[in-house]
Protein backbone atom coordinates (compact mmCIF):
# COMPACT_ATOMS: atom_id res chain seq x y z
CA UNK A 1 0.00 0.00 0.00
CA UNK A 2 2.87 2.36 0.86
CA UNK A 3 4.68 1.72 -2.41
CA UNK A 4 1.54 2.00 -4.47
CA UNK A 5 0.71 5.30 -2.81
CA UNK A 6 4.26 6.58 -3.19
CA UNK A 7 4.45 5.61 -6.86
CA UNK A 8 1.07 7.14 -7.59
CA UNK A 9 1.92 10.32 -5.71
CA UNK A 10 5.13 10.72 -7.69
CA UNK A 11 3.31 10.18 -10.98
CA UNK A 12 0.50 12.59 -10.12
CA UNK A 13 2.83 15.25 -8.72
CA UNK A 14 5.34 15.19 -11.55
CA UNK A 15 2.67 15.39 -14.24
CA UNK A 16 0.86 18.12 -12.29
CA UNK A 17 4.05 20.15 -11.74
CA UNK A 18 4.91 19.96 -15.44
CA UNK A 19 1.43 21.21 -16.37
CA UNK A 20 1.56 23.90 -13.69
CA UNK A 21 4.95 25.01 -15.01
CA UNK A 22 3.70 25.54 -18.55
CA UNK A 23 0.31 27.12 -17.88
CA UNK A 24 1.61 28.95 -14.82
CA UNK A 25 4.24 30.71 -16.94
CA UNK A 26 1.67 31.54 -19.57
CA UNK A 27 -0.69 33.13 -17.04
CA UNK A 28 2.18 34.83 -15.20
CA UNK A 29 3.28 36.43 -18.43
CA UNK A 30 -0.25 37.58 -19.28
CA UNK A 31 -0.79 39.02 -15.80
CA UNK A 32 2.65 40.61 -15.50
CA UNK A 33 3.20 42.01 -18.98
CA UNK A 34 -0.10 42.62 -20.68
CA UNK A 35 -3.30 44.53 -20.07
CA UNK A 36 -6.62 43.17 -21.18
CA UNK A 37 -10.25 43.26 -20.23
CA UNK A 38 -11.08 40.92 -17.39
CA UNK A 39 -7.52 40.73 -16.11
CA UNK A 40 -8.63 41.41 -12.52
CA UNK A 41 -11.24 38.70 -12.82
CA UNK A 42 -8.75 36.17 -14.21
CA UNK A 43 -6.31 37.01 -11.43
CA UNK A 44 -9.01 36.50 -8.79
CA UNK A 45 -10.26 33.26 -10.36
CA UNK A 46 -6.74 31.81 -10.49
CA UNK A 47 -6.04 32.80 -6.88
CA UNK A 48 -9.31 31.46 -5.51
CA UNK A 49 -8.18 27.83 -4.98
CA UNK A 50 -5.52 29.21 -2.61
CA UNK A 51 -8.16 30.36 -0.13
CA UNK A 52 -11.09 28.04 -0.89
CA UNK A 53 -11.35 24.93 1.27
CA UNK A 54 -9.99 22.15 -0.96
CA UNK A 55 -13.21 20.20 -0.62
CA UNK A 56 -15.04 23.17 -2.12
CA UNK A 57 -12.54 23.31 -4.99
CA UNK A 58 -13.09 19.57 -5.38
CA UNK A 59 -16.84 20.07 -5.40
CA UNK A 60 -16.54 22.58 -8.24
CA UNK A 61 -14.33 20.15 -10.12
CA UNK A 62 -17.08 17.53 -9.84
CA UNK A 63 -19.66 20.07 -11.02
CA UNK A 64 -17.44 20.87 -14.00
CA UNK A 65 -15.74 17.60 -14.84
CA UNK A 66 -17.79 14.85 -13.21
CA UNK A 67 -19.62 12.35 -15.38
CA UNK A 68 -22.71 14.54 -15.25
CA UNK A 69 -20.71 17.78 -15.03
CA UNK A 70 -20.87 20.75 -17.37
CA UNK A 71 -17.81 19.73 -19.36
CA UNK A 72 -17.54 16.17 -18.06
CA UNK A 73 -20.90 15.03 -19.48
CA UNK A 74 -19.88 16.27 -22.89
CA UNK A 75 -16.59 14.40 -22.64
CA UNK A 76 -18.33 11.27 -21.37
CA UNK A 77 -20.85 11.27 -24.24
CA UNK A 78 -18.03 11.72 -26.69
CA UNK A 79 -15.52 9.20 -25.37
CA UNK A 80 -17.24 7.16 -22.67
CA UNK A 81 -14.52 8.26 -20.29
CA UNK A 82 -14.61 10.54 -17.29
CA UNK A 83 -11.84 11.94 -15.13
CA UNK A 84 -13.84 11.15 -12.00
CA UNK A 85 -12.13 8.40 -9.96
CA UNK A 86 -9.02 8.28 -12.14
CA UNK A 87 -5.43 9.31 -11.50
CA UNK A 88 -5.88 11.98 -14.14
CA UNK A 89 -8.58 13.43 -11.90
CA UNK A 90 -6.03 13.57 -9.09
CA UNK A 91 -3.67 15.39 -11.46
CA UNK A 92 -6.35 17.97 -12.27
CA UNK A 93 -7.05 18.52 -8.57
CA UNK A 94 -3.32 18.95 -7.88
CA UNK A 95 -2.94 21.37 -10.79
CA UNK A 96 -5.84 23.56 -9.71
CA UNK A 97 -4.74 23.89 -6.08
CA UNK A 98 -1.03 24.40 -6.79
CA UNK A 99 -1.31 26.73 -9.80
CA UNK A 100 -1.90 29.87 -7.67
CA UNK A 101 1.37 29.30 -5.78
CA UNK A 102 3.31 29.00 -9.02
CA UNK A 103 1.65 32.10 -10.46
CA UNK A 104 2.23 34.21 -7.34
CA UNK A 105 5.95 33.48 -7.29
CA UNK A 106 6.69 33.56 -11.01
CA UNK A 107 4.52 36.58 -11.74
CA UNK A 108 6.25 38.63 -9.02
CA UNK A 109 9.60 37.57 -10.39
CA UNK A 110 8.67 38.39 -14.00
CA UNK A 111 7.37 41.79 -12.90
CA UNK A 112 10.69 42.70 -11.31
CA UNK A 113 12.62 42.17 -14.55
CA UNK A 114 13.63 45.66 -15.69
CA UNK A 115 11.55 46.41 -18.83
CA UNK A 116 14.61 48.10 -20.29
CA UNK A 117 16.10 44.65 -21.03
CA UNK A 118 12.97 43.70 -22.93
CA UNK A 119 13.04 47.01 -24.81
CA UNK A 120 16.69 46.37 -25.70
CA UNK A 121 15.71 42.95 -27.03
CA UNK A 122 12.93 44.46 -29.16
CA UNK A 123 15.29 47.04 -30.64
CA UNK A 124 17.62 44.17 -31.53
CA UNK A 125 14.87 42.79 -33.73
CA UNK A 126 13.46 40.10 -31.43
CA UNK A 127 9.72 39.65 -31.08
CA UNK A 128 7.69 39.06 -27.93
CA UNK A 129 8.12 35.30 -27.76
CA UNK A 130 11.88 35.29 -28.36
CA UNK A 131 12.28 38.11 -25.85
CA UNK A 132 10.27 36.25 -23.24
CA UNK A 133 12.18 32.99 -23.70
CA UNK A 134 15.68 34.44 -23.95
CA UNK A 135 15.57 37.53 -21.74
CA UNK A 136 12.60 37.62 -19.37
CA UNK A 137 12.55 33.94 -18.38
CA UNK A 138 16.27 33.59 -17.60
CA UNK A 139 16.21 36.81 -15.58
CA UNK A 140 13.15 35.67 -13.64
CA UNK A 141 14.32 32.08 -13.25
CA UNK A 142 14.79 32.06 -9.49
CA UNK A 143 11.23 33.09 -8.79
CA UNK A 144 10.07 30.56 -11.35
CA UNK A 145 12.04 27.76 -9.68
CA UNK A 146 10.69 28.83 -6.30
CA UNK A 147 7.16 28.74 -7.71
CA UNK A 148 7.73 25.26 -9.10
CA UNK A 149 9.04 23.95 -5.78
CA UNK A 150 6.09 25.43 -3.90
CA UNK A 151 3.65 24.02 -6.45
CA UNK A 152 5.33 20.62 -6.24
CA UNK A 153 5.04 20.60 -2.44
CA UNK A 154 1.43 21.75 -2.50
CA UNK A 155 0.52 19.13 -5.13
CA UNK A 156 2.21 16.43 -3.06
CA UNK A 157 0.11 17.30 -0.02
CA UNK A 158 -3.16 17.67 -1.87
CA UNK A 159 -5.99 15.84 -0.07
CA UNK A 160 -9.43 17.43 -0.12
CA UNK A 161 -9.96 18.19 -3.78
CA UNK A 162 -8.33 14.88 -4.76
CA UNK A 163 -10.68 12.95 -2.51
CA UNK A 164 -13.68 14.69 -4.07
CA UNK A 165 -12.86 14.23 -7.76
CA UNK A 166 -10.64 11.14 -7.76
CA UNK A 167 -11.82 9.30 -4.68
CA UNK A 168 -9.67 7.08 -2.49
CA UNK A 169 -9.11 3.88 -4.41
CA UNK A 170 -5.96 2.04 -3.26
CA UNK A 171 -3.59 1.47 -6.16
CA UNK A 172 -5.57 3.71 -8.46
CA UNK A 173 -6.22 7.09 -6.91
CA UNK A 174 -4.92 6.74 -3.37
CA UNK A 175 -2.05 9.18 -3.11
CA UNK A 176 0.16 9.46 -0.02
CA UNK A 177 -1.95 11.95 1.94
CA UNK A 178 -5.01 9.77 1.39
CA UNK A 179 -3.05 6.68 2.37
CA UNK A 180 -2.07 8.37 5.64
CA UNK A 181 -5.69 9.10 6.39
CA UNK A 182 -6.65 5.53 5.71
CA UNK A 183 -3.75 4.13 7.72
CA UNK A 184 -4.78 6.18 10.74
CA UNK A 185 -8.46 5.41 10.29
CA UNK A 186 -7.74 1.69 10.18
CA UNK A 187 -5.33 1.84 13.15
CA UNK A 188 -2.22 1.10 11.09
CA UNK A 189 0.14 3.24 13.18
CA UNK A 190 3.45 2.18 11.64
CA UNK A 191 2.32 2.81 8.12
CA UNK A 192 0.92 6.23 9.03
CA UNK A 193 4.21 7.14 10.73
CA UNK A 194 6.29 6.13 7.75
CA UNK A 195 4.15 8.00 5.25
CA UNK A 196 4.07 11.09 7.48
CA UNK A 197 7.86 11.01 7.78
CA UNK A 198 8.34 10.81 4.02
CA UNK A 199 5.96 13.71 3.39
CA UNK A 200 7.56 15.79 6.15
CA UNK A 201 11.00 15.22 4.69
CA UNK A 202 9.91 16.29 1.23
CA UNK A 203 8.19 19.37 2.65
CA UNK A 204 11.26 20.44 4.63
CA UNK A 205 13.37 20.03 1.51
CA UNK A 206 10.91 22.16 -0.46
CA UNK A 207 11.01 24.96 2.12
CA UNK A 208 14.80 24.80 2.21
CA UNK A 209 15.11 25.10 -1.57
CA UNK A 210 12.58 27.93 -1.90
CA UNK A 211 14.39 29.88 0.82
CA UNK A 212 17.73 29.35 -0.84
CA UNK A 213 16.35 30.42 -4.20
CA UNK A 214 14.68 33.56 -2.90
CA UNK A 215 17.68 34.59 -0.79
CA UNK A 216 20.13 34.31 -3.63
CA UNK A 217 18.01 36.49 -5.93
CA UNK A 218 20.81 38.49 -7.48
CA UNK A 219 19.86 39.33 -11.03
CA UNK A 220 17.71 42.29 -11.81
Amino acid sequence: MIWDALKLSLLVVSVATAIVGVIGLLFSYLLAKTNFRGKEFLDAALTLPLVLPPTVTGYYLIVLLGRRGLIGSFLYDLTGWSVAFTWQGAVIAAVVVSLPLMIKASRASIETVDPQYEMASFTLGKGRIATFLRVTLPLARRGIYAGLVLAFARALGEFGATLMIAGNIPGRTQTMPLAIYEAVASGNERQAQLLALVLTGVSIAAVYFTNRLSHSEVHG
Binding site: Y117, M119, A120, T123, L124, G125, K126, R134, L139, H219
Partner: protein, 226 residues
Amino acid sequence: MSRSMLTVEVTKQFFTKNKPSFALDLSLAVGPGFTVLTGPSGSGKTTLLRLIAGIIAPDRGRIELASKVLFDSANRIDRPIPGRHVGFVFQNYALFPHMTAVQNVSYGIKSGTRSEKRDKASEMLALLHVDHVALRTPSELSGGEQQRVALARALASEPEIALLDEPLSAVDVETRGKLLDEIEAVQQRSGIPFIYVTHNEAEAERLGQQRITLQNGRVVEAKVSK
Protein backbone atom coordinates in the same frame (compact mmCIF):
# COMPACT_ATOMS: atom_id res chain seq x y z
CA MET B 1 20.53 71.05 -46.57
CA SER B 2 21.77 67.54 -47.00
CA ARG B 3 19.49 64.66 -47.87
CA SER B 4 17.54 63.89 -44.73
CA MET B 5 17.62 60.33 -43.43
CA LEU B 6 15.10 60.77 -40.71
CA THR B 7 12.14 63.10 -40.48
CA VAL B 8 10.07 63.45 -37.36
CA GLU B 9 6.86 65.45 -37.18
CA VAL B 10 5.02 64.51 -34.00
CA THR B 11 3.02 65.71 -31.02
CA LYS B 12 2.44 63.98 -27.74
CA GLN B 13 0.81 65.08 -24.54
CA PHE B 14 1.97 63.49 -21.30
CA PHE B 15 -0.12 63.29 -18.17
CA THR B 16 0.74 63.07 -14.51
CA LYS B 17 -2.13 61.94 -12.30
CA ASN B 18 -4.58 62.65 -15.14
CA LYS B 19 -3.42 66.24 -15.50
CA PRO B 20 -1.57 67.37 -18.61
CA SER B 21 2.06 67.78 -17.60
CA PHE B 22 4.48 67.83 -20.51
CA ALA B 23 3.73 68.48 -24.16
CA LEU B 24 5.98 67.45 -27.00
CA ASP B 25 5.68 69.17 -30.36
CA LEU B 26 8.60 68.26 -32.57
CA SER B 27 9.46 68.85 -36.14
CA LEU B 28 12.92 67.94 -37.31
CA ALA B 29 15.00 66.38 -40.03
CA VAL B 30 18.28 64.58 -39.55
CA GLY B 31 20.85 64.14 -42.28
CA PRO B 32 23.43 61.41 -42.68
CA GLY B 33 26.41 61.51 -40.37
CA PHE B 34 26.57 62.56 -36.79
CA THR B 35 23.84 64.60 -35.13
CA VAL B 36 24.09 65.86 -31.59
CA LEU B 37 20.85 66.24 -29.69
CA THR B 38 21.13 68.56 -26.73
CA GLY B 39 18.96 70.48 -24.32
CA PRO B 40 18.38 70.74 -20.59
CA SER B 41 17.21 67.66 -18.74
CA GLY B 42 13.48 67.19 -19.12
CA SER B 43 13.45 68.85 -22.54
CA GLY B 44 12.43 65.64 -24.29
CA LYS B 45 15.69 64.24 -25.66
CA THR B 46 15.27 60.70 -24.40
CA THR B 47 11.57 60.82 -25.27
CA LEU B 48 12.45 61.70 -28.86
CA LEU B 49 14.77 58.69 -29.11
CA ARG B 50 12.06 56.46 -27.66
CA LEU B 51 9.54 57.78 -30.16
CA ILE B 52 11.89 56.98 -33.03
CA ALA B 53 12.59 53.49 -31.69
CA GLY B 54 8.87 52.82 -31.13
CA ILE B 55 9.16 52.32 -27.38
CA ILE B 56 6.49 54.99 -26.98
CA ALA B 57 3.99 56.18 -29.57
CA PRO B 58 3.17 59.78 -30.43
CA ASP B 59 -0.42 61.01 -30.31
CA ARG B 60 -0.23 62.38 -33.80
CA GLY B 61 2.26 62.80 -36.59
CA ARG B 62 4.66 60.96 -38.81
CA ILE B 63 8.12 59.43 -38.48
CA GLU B 64 10.04 58.37 -41.54
CA LEU B 65 13.42 56.67 -41.64
CA ALA B 66 15.29 56.29 -44.95
CA SER B 67 11.99 56.71 -46.82
CA LYS B 68 10.37 53.95 -44.76
CA VAL B 69 7.35 55.04 -42.72
CA LEU B 70 7.77 54.03 -39.07
CA PHE B 71 4.76 55.88 -37.75
CA ASP B 72 1.92 57.71 -39.41
CA SER B 73 -1.19 58.55 -37.40
CA ALA B 74 -3.10 59.61 -40.53
CA ASN B 75 -2.70 56.16 -42.06
CA ARG B 76 -2.70 54.26 -38.77
CA ILE B 77 0.81 52.97 -39.25
CA ASP B 78 2.78 52.11 -36.15
CA ARG B 79 5.57 49.73 -37.00
CA PRO B 80 6.48 47.55 -33.99
CA ILE B 81 9.92 48.04 -32.41
CA PRO B 82 11.61 44.90 -33.85
CA GLY B 83 10.73 45.94 -37.41
CA ARG B 84 12.16 49.44 -37.15
CA HIS B 85 15.84 48.52 -37.45
CA VAL B 86 16.89 51.11 -34.94
CA GLY B 87 20.05 50.56 -32.91
CA PHE B 88 19.58 51.85 -29.39
CA VAL B 89 22.32 52.42 -26.84
CA PHE B 90 20.55 52.96 -23.54
CA GLN B 91 21.85 55.35 -20.94
CA ASN B 92 22.70 52.52 -18.57
CA TYR B 93 23.43 50.22 -21.54
CA ALA B 94 20.84 47.56 -20.64
CA LEU B 95 23.30 44.77 -21.40
CA PHE B 96 21.68 41.41 -20.64
CA PRO B 97 23.15 40.45 -17.27
CA HIS B 98 22.80 36.70 -17.87
CA MET B 99 24.86 36.73 -21.07
CA THR B 100 28.54 37.30 -21.73
CA ALA B 101 29.67 40.29 -23.81
CA VAL B 102 29.93 38.21 -26.97
CA GLN B 103 26.53 36.61 -26.35
CA ASN B 104 25.05 40.07 -25.91
CA VAL B 105 26.43 41.15 -29.26
CA SER B 106 25.50 38.01 -31.18
CA TYR B 107 21.95 38.17 -29.76
CA GLY B 108 20.90 40.83 -32.26
CA ILE B 109 22.65 39.37 -35.32
CA LYS B 110 19.93 38.32 -37.69
CA SER B 111 21.34 35.75 -40.06
CA GLY B 112 23.91 33.00 -40.00
CA THR B 113 24.63 29.88 -38.03
CA ARG B 114 25.50 30.01 -34.37
CA SER B 115 29.24 30.07 -35.06
CA GLU B 116 28.91 32.64 -37.85
CA LYS B 117 27.02 34.89 -35.47
CA ARG B 118 29.67 34.39 -32.86
CA ASP B 119 32.45 35.25 -35.30
CA LYS B 120 30.65 38.38 -36.39
CA ALA B 121 30.05 39.37 -32.76
CA SER B 122 33.75 38.88 -32.00
CA GLU B 123 34.63 41.10 -34.97
CA MET B 124 32.33 43.83 -33.67
CA LEU B 125 33.93 43.59 -30.24
CA ALA B 126 37.37 43.84 -31.82
CA LEU B 127 36.29 46.88 -33.80
CA LEU B 128 35.43 48.59 -30.53
CA HIS B 129 38.59 47.27 -28.81
CA VAL B 130 36.79 45.09 -26.29
CA ASP B 131 37.47 41.65 -27.76
CA HIS B 132 39.50 40.83 -24.64
CA VAL B 133 36.36 40.93 -22.46
CA ALA B 134 34.24 38.78 -24.80
CA LEU B 135 33.66 36.06 -22.22
CA ARG B 136 32.89 38.30 -19.26
CA THR B 137 29.41 39.17 -18.08
CA PRO B 138 28.34 42.83 -17.88
CA SER B 139 28.82 42.99 -14.10
CA GLU B 140 32.52 42.24 -14.65
CA LEU B 141 33.00 45.13 -17.08
CA SER B 142 34.00 48.75 -16.45
CA GLY B 143 31.69 51.56 -17.53
CA GLY B 144 33.73 52.23 -20.65
CA GLU B 145 33.78 48.54 -21.58
CA GLN B 146 30.03 48.25 -21.08
CA GLN B 147 29.54 51.28 -23.29
CA ARG B 148 31.63 49.74 -26.06
CA VAL B 149 29.85 46.39 -25.81
CA ALA B 150 26.48 48.15 -25.92
CA LEU B 151 27.49 50.05 -29.05
CA ALA B 152 28.85 46.85 -30.62
CA ARG B 153 25.57 45.10 -29.83
CA ALA B 154 23.48 47.89 -31.35
CA LEU B 155 25.56 48.02 -34.54
CA ALA B 156 25.78 44.24 -34.95
CA SER B 157 22.03 44.14 -35.53
CA GLU B 158 22.64 46.18 -38.71
CA PRO B 159 20.34 49.08 -37.90
CA GLU B 160 19.49 51.90 -40.27
CA ILE B 161 20.15 54.48 -37.58
CA ALA B 162 21.87 54.42 -34.19
CA LEU B 163 20.42 56.25 -31.22
CA LEU B 164 22.79 56.88 -28.33
CA ASP B 165 21.26 58.13 -25.13
CA GLU B 166 23.98 59.93 -23.14
CA PRO B 167 26.31 56.99 -23.66
CA LEU B 168 29.20 58.53 -21.79
CA SER B 169 27.40 59.66 -18.66
CA ALA B 170 28.60 56.59 -16.74
CA VAL B 171 32.18 56.76 -18.04
CA ASP B 172 35.04 58.50 -16.23
CA VAL B 173 36.38 61.73 -17.70
CA GLU B 174 39.72 60.33 -18.90
CA THR B 175 38.02 57.62 -20.93
CA ARG B 176 35.52 60.02 -22.46
CA GLY B 177 37.73 61.79 -24.98
CA LYS B 178 39.05 58.53 -26.33
CA LEU B 179 35.58 57.00 -26.58
CA LEU B 180 34.23 60.04 -28.39
CA ASP B 181 36.90 59.65 -31.07
CA GLU B 182 36.04 56.00 -31.40
CA ILE B 183 32.32 56.60 -31.63
CA GLU B 184 32.92 59.11 -34.39
CA ALA B 185 35.16 56.68 -36.24
CA VAL B 186 32.63 53.87 -35.88
CA GLN B 187 29.90 56.13 -37.23
CA GLN B 188 31.96 56.85 -40.33
CA ARG B 189 32.66 53.18 -40.85
CA SER B 190 29.06 52.14 -40.39
CA GLY B 191 27.73 54.75 -42.83
CA ILE B 192 24.47 55.12 -40.92
CA PRO B 193 23.29 58.28 -39.16
CA PHE B 194 23.96 58.53 -35.42
CA ILE B 195 21.88 60.63 -33.07
CA TYR B 196 23.88 61.33 -29.97
CA VAL B 197 22.15 62.73 -26.90
CA THR B 198 24.21 64.72 -24.46
CA HIS B 199 23.75 67.62 -22.14
CA ASN B 200 27.49 68.09 -21.85
CA GLU B 201 28.29 71.32 -23.73
CA ALA B 202 31.91 70.36 -24.41
CA GLU B 203 30.87 67.07 -25.99
CA ALA B 204 28.20 68.81 -28.03
CA GLU B 205 30.65 71.42 -29.31
CA ARG B 206 33.13 68.81 -30.32
CA LEU B 207 30.76 66.48 -32.15
CA GLY B 208 28.21 68.87 -33.44
CA GLN B 209 28.53 69.44 -37.15
CA GLN B 210 24.80 68.83 -37.01
CA ARG B 211 23.08 69.86 -33.86
CA ILE B 212 19.49 69.93 -32.65
CA THR B 213 18.60 71.63 -29.40
CA LEU B 214 15.39 70.93 -27.53
CA GLN B 215 13.70 72.96 -24.86
CA ASN B 216 10.37 72.19 -23.21
CA GLY B 217 9.51 69.61 -25.84
CA ARG B 218 10.25 71.84 -28.83
CA VAL B 219 13.11 72.28 -31.24
CA VAL B 220 14.70 75.65 -30.48
CA GLU B 221 17.74 75.31 -32.67
CA ALA B 222 18.60 73.09 -35.62
CA LYS B 223 21.94 73.27 -37.28
CA VAL B 224 22.27 70.88 -40.17
CA SER B 225 25.47 70.61 -42.14
CA LYS B 226 25.53 71.50 -45.81
